[in-house]
Each structure stands twice: as structure tokens, then as C-alpha cells.
């Protein structure tokens, strides 16, 4: 199952509809290949970028907040140990959880399924992360103006004109 998530502007990055669509495709393929239960893409501030798989909606906000906290903890830990890249794995029987860094400010959280193997998941995850980073990189290079232009948002000229007329009437 793929859930549509509103394009979100964060970390100086403008994600457009086509970006989220591409992210969706990457994660969808990843889930098909690994047969994991769910996969969440979250930015460092705790915003959900995209999610695929089992619906965790009743507890989603809590899970995402905890994941963002764990992300920061693990990143700090890796810096203490002198590593630039890191990943975390929670082994807990049938529902192992894997967290991997995406770029500098995002996290991929994967809940493994009964048919998933952690080595395979890790291999596919690294490949997916490479593609996701490419999407993020393109989004980061995009300026605000070009993002608005690409998105086709033209603004509301009638409203802007009405406001200007009203101000002119007031102050002359």
C-alpha cells in the first residue's frame, strides 16, 4: 500500500509532486523486493516524507517522533565513535526494525517481515538510499522560484490587485 503524502518543504529542500512520486516508486520497489512489513521515510525534524506497507496510523505520530529521536541519538553516537555513516538495527524476534541514514538529514525506518532477511534488506536498502539521495539532491538544488514555476503555481492575481487597490484608496 502506498500512501500519498503532501509535498513538504524542509531542510532547504523543495519536494514536488514528481519527487514524491519518484520516492514512492523507489520505496514501493524496495518493499516488493524485500517483503518487509513497512518502510517509512522521515526527515530529521520528525516529518513523515513517505510511507509504504502496513498501516500504523493509530500510533504513527508516536512512532515517527520516536524514530526521529532515535535518529538524532544514533547520529550523535556515530559522531562520538568517529563514523560519518551509520545504521541501527533493533533485533526483536519476528519484527526486527532497521534504521538507516539517508543523506544528512533523513532516515529510512524498515520493519522487517517474516519473509525478510536482514542482509538482503540491507543490500536493497543501500541501493534505495542511493536513489533517494539523488532525488533529495535534485530537490535541494532547486530554488524557490523554480520550484513554484515547476509546480505550476501561478498565484492569485485578482486577489493581489484587489489588495493593492484597497491600500491605494486608504493612503492615496
Amino acid at each position: 500500500m502506498t500512501t500519498a503524502v503532501q509535498p513538504r518543504i524542509g531542510s532547504n529542500r523543495f519536494l514536488l509532486k514528481k519527487d514524491t512520486h519518484e520516492i514512492g516508486l523507489i520505496l514501493n520497489r524496495f518493499q516488493e523486493n524485500t517483503r518487509c512489513r513497512s518502510v517509512l521515510l522521515i526527515d530529521e525534524a520528525g516529518h513523515l516524507v513517505s510511507k509504504h506497507g502496513e498501516d500504523t496510523s493509530p500510533r504513527e505520530a508516536t512512532v515517527i517522533a520516536l524514530l526521529a529521536g532515535t535518529f538524532q541519538t544514533t547520529r550523535r553516537l556515530s559522531r562520538l565513535l568517529g563514523a560519518k555513516e551509520f545504521s541501527s538495527r533493533v533485533d526483536c524476534g519476528m519484527r526486527d526494525l532497521m534504521m538507516l541514514q539517508v543523506g544528512d538529514d533523513a532516515l529510512l525506518a524498515i520493519t522487517l517481515g517474516d519473509e525478510s532477511t536482514s542482509t538482503l534488506v540491507r543490500t536493497y536498502a543501500l541501493e534505495s538510499i542511493r536513489r533517494l539521495e539523488k532525488v533529495f539532491h535534485g530537490a535541494a538544488e532547486r530554488s524557490e522560484e523554480s520550484a513554484l514555476e515547476e509546480s505550476g503555481w501561478k498565484g492569485n492575481d485578482t486577489f493581489a490587485r484587489a489588495v493593492t487597490d484597497r491600500l491605494d484608496a486608504l493612503f492615496g
Binding site: 512489513r37 500504523t56 500510533r59 508516536t62 512512532v63 520516536l66 524514530l67 529521536g69 532515535t70 541519538t73 544514533t74 550523535r76 553516537l77 556515530s78 562520538l80 565513535l81 568517529g82 563514523a83 560519518k84 555513516e85 551509520f86 545504521s87 541501527s88 538495527r89 533493533v90 533485533d91 526483536c92 524476534g93 519476528m94 519484527r95 526494525l97 525506518a109 520493519t111
Partner: protein
């Protein structure tokens, strides 16, 4: 108190005061049991008694005893019990009434009269109250071959002694309790050290097996318990907090995702990794290791060590509160 016969020395009062003064000066110099023993012996000697005993509080057993002529030394067990019972009865009567009493005024068991007069060669037993702050705190029992007369001065002098004895009892209670506390704490400390050594031994074994850089055991609240391995080049309290915080958050996430089983968190870095395993629901075992050929083995060893550490932590928990 008047007795049947008047055998008294002219300067007895002054001598008794001097004796009491000498005795009380010893109160803080020697342990209480020794002090009360000395008091009993000196008082018995002063009055020319063959046997002297001091009872304090509500106790049925004397706290100090003196057998100056070895009268009681060769008694059979049964006879000794009979004597002790009547002795305690005399002390009880004195403490009950707060007045002096004589053994001959009390009902006695069959055979006691014969024991007292023929076997022990004694004539009478006298019980004198030991008072302090207006209350009878105990009794001095003296056994004589011949009748003795006790004056009011004797009782007043005993009152001075009673104050000292009462003070010594309180002091002795306090110091005994303190010494007992110290011994208990020392015992607990020894146990604590022993279990801590065992924990360190397990960590050392684990470090050797995994070729880890460092192996840590911390509380889930991030407090340090034990560590083996090399000193890490950063603030270890920060590391402890990050490990504990990261583990708790990961555990909560796993719980929300429906996992209820045993949990193990592995942070995999470029060159170094950290494995965190819960021990006995109260501590975390963290292994900081470099690249390993078979990382699954590290998890197996960690599980095994955690099971052993669980026992030691349980034992440590029992002796931890000092």
C-alpha cells in the same frame, strides 16, 4: 531498710561514696558489660557478699554477676536453675515495688531453702533498688552468710550508681547498634565487591571473545556499573546517556510495532559498531567492536553473557542498599 542484725561499719557511708565515685569514673573507659561486671564485684566485695548480681530494665537475666567465694561454681544444672529462678524473683519483687526486699520474705520452691543454707552456705538474699530519675531501673541482689543492715545512705549511693548505669545502658545501646551497623555494612561491602568482581570477569571474558574495543555495563538510567577494555577518547557519560536513550526509544518503537520479545539494538558505523543488549530489565550491556568477520557470533556471546550477568546483578541488587 532494716535488717535482722546490725553489722555495719562506722565509715561505711563515706567508703561507699568513694567506691561509687571510683566505679563511675570507669563507666566511659571500658565496655558496658565489663563496667557492670566490675560494679557488681566491687559492691559485693564492699558489702561482704558471697554472690552479687545486678538486673537492669525488665530483664530476667542479670547484666552483671559476681561469685566471690565460688559458691555457684560447683552447682548442678538443676540447682543452678533453681537458684537463678529465685534470684530473678527477688529482683522482680524489688523492681515491682521499688523498695528493698529480702529473699526470706518471698515464697520459695521446695528444696531451695536447703540449697541456699546447706549447699551454698548462705543465710539471706537482699534485693536493693537501683533508681534513676525517680524510677526503679533495676535491682542489686546480694547474698550473705550473715545478716547485713543497709541504711538510707546505701540506697542513695545506689541511686547515683543507677544514673550512671542507666546512662551507660543508653550509650552502650547506641554504640552497639553503631558497631552492628558498621559490621553489617562491611559485610555487605564485601559481598558487593565480590559480585562486582564476578561482573568484571564476565565482561573481560566477553571482551576477549569479541575482540571488542570496550565492553560496558550501565543502568538503564545511564549510570555506570562496570567496564572492561580500553579507555575511550570521549566523555563516557555522554556515551552512556546516548546508549540508554537510544535503547529505550528503540524498544518503545519495537513495542508500538507489535514486538514483545527480547530486544537487541545494533548501531553499525563505518569502522565501529555498538551492540546494546538488555540485562535483567534493569541494565544494558554495550559492546563497542570494530569490524568483525562473524557479527552474529557477537550477538550470541552477548546473549550468553547477559544471562550470566543477570544472576550477578540480582545478587548485587540485594546488597546494594547500604
Amino acid at each position: 531498710m532494716t535488717t535482722n542484725a546490725a553489722v555495719s561499719r562506722a565509715d561505711q557511708g563515706a567508703d561507699l561514696h568513694r567506691l561509687i565515685f571510683e566505679l563511675t569514673s570507669r563507666a566511659t573507659a571500658v565496655p558496658f558489660s565489663q563496667f557492670v561486671g566490675e560494679v557488681t564485684a566491687k559492691l559485693a566485695g564492699f558489702y561482704g557478699s558471697s554472690v552479687g548480681r545486678i538486673f537492669l530494665g525488665g530483664s530476667q537475666q542479670p547484666v552483671g554477676a559476681a561469685d566471690l567465694h565460688d559458691c555457684l561454681k560447683h552447682l548442678s544444672v538443676a540447682d543452678r536453675e533453681l537458684f537463678d529462678r529465685h534470684d530473678a524473683q527477688l529482683a522482680h519483687e524489688v523492681r515491682r515495688t521499688g523498695r528493698p526486699a529480702k529473699l526470706s520474705q518471698l515464697p520459695t520452691k521446695p528444696g531451695f531453702e536447703k540449697l541456699l543454707r546447706e549447699t551454698l552456705g548462705l543465710g539471706e538474699g537482699y534485693g536493693l533498688p537501683i533508681q534513676s530519675h525517680g524510677k526503679t531501673q533495676g535491682a542489686l541482689c546480694l547474698y550473705h552468710r550473715d545478716p547485713v543492715r543497709f541504711s538510707k545512705a546505701d540506697l542513695q549511693s545506689l541511686q547515683a550508681l543507677g544514673n550512671v548505669l542507666q546512662g551507660s545502658v543508653k550509650q552502650d545501646d547506641g554504640s552497639a547498634r553503631y558497631l552492628e551497623d558498621v559490621r553489617e555494612k562491611d559485610k555487605k561491602m564485601q559481598h558487593y565487591k565480590l559480585h562486582l568482581q564476578k561482573i568484571e570477569m564476565i565482561l573481560e571474558e566477553l571482551r576477549a571473545l569479541t575482540m571488542a574495543r570496550s565492553v560496558l555495563l550501565i543502568e538503564r538510567t545511564a549510570e555506570f556499573i562496570a567496564k572492561r577494555g580500553e579507555d575511550l577518547p570521549y566523555d563516557e557519560s555522554h556515551l552512556n546517556v546516548l546508549l540508554a536513550g537510544g535503547y529505550e526509544a528503540s524498544k518503545r518503537i519495537a513495542g508500538l510495532l507489535g514486538s514483545t520479545g527480547e530486544k537487541m539494538v545494533v548501531h553499525e558505523g563505518e569502522g565501529e559498531s555498538v551492540l546494546v543488549k538488555e540485562v535483567a530489565s534493569r541494565a544494558l550491556l554495550a559492546i563497542i567492536y570494530r569490524d568483525h568477520d562473524v557479527p552474529q557470533l557477537i550477538a550470541e556471546w552477548a546473549n550468553s553473557a547477559a544471562a550470566r550477568l543477570e544472576e550477578e546483578l540480582a545478587a548485587l541488587g540485594e546488597v546494594r542498599i547500604l
